[in-house]
């Protein structure tokens, strides 16, 4: 799976994001680092921020296309 494919999915799920990047950590198309800053995360616990990212990527996480997902999220406040 391409990092860009994941980025597009997240872009659609978080159109308000002010920062969004997806890095293929190992170059093997299955270990990714997602970095996402969104005003919709303001005041939301980290656990719920990560839950929202996981939900947006539920399909590739569920079928094993994403083997490892590292997440770094923050609000914008």
């Amino acid at each position: 799976m391409e990092a860009e494919t994941i980025r597009i999915v997240l872009q659609q799920a978080f159109p308000e994001a002010v920062e969004l990047s997806v890095e293929d950590r190992t170059g093997t198309g299955d270990h990714f680092q997602v970095t996402l800053a969104s005003p919709s995360f303001d005041g939301l616990p980290l656990l719920d921020q990560h839950r929202r990212v996981n939900q947006a990527l539920a399909a590739p996480l569920g079928d094993g296309s994403i083997h490892e997902l590292r997440i770094k999220t923050k609000g914008t406040a």
Binding site: L46, H50, R51, N54, L61, R70, I71, K72
Partner: protein, 120 residues
């Protein structure tokens, strides 16, 4: 014999800090499980680990229960804290120590325990 779901729920409910991981503390099979354990150790947490690798159903049942798709999963007093990234972030911000102090007290032991689930 208790179902897998019941056994998992019991570990989450009864253990002060439960970590569902790949492998055991003696033989960690995944870098992320290692990161979570290391952060908990640094915060002086006792840990009870469950290896999810013996049977894929463990992970399925766990994720259904927690609504969290990836491994590791860290629970403190029955509450999901998150995976490796969140555990590390909470350690760095001091919130992990705070959470452990509040939930388990400051005089906590740092025992490491492993629970093997019974598979039908």
């Amino acid at each position: 014999m208790k179902t897998l779901n019941e056994q998992i729920a019991e570990v989450i409910e009864n253990e002060p800090v439960a970590v569902f991981m790949k492998g055991t503390p003696e033989m960690i099979m995944c870098g992320n499980s290692q990161r979570a354990l290391r952060a908990l150790h640094a915060a002086g947490a006792p840990v009870t680990t469950v290896d999810v690798l013996p049977d894929p159903r463990i992970r399925q049942e766990l994720s259904t229960l927690s609504g969290w798709p990836t491994i590791p999963q860290v629970f403190v007093k029955g509450e999901l804290i998150g995976g490796a990234d969140i555990t590390e972030e909470l350690l760095a911000s001091g919130e992990l120590d705070q959470k452990l102090d509040e939930s388990l007290g400051t005089e906590r032991t740092q025992d490491v325990k492993t629970v093997a689930l019974e598979l039908a």
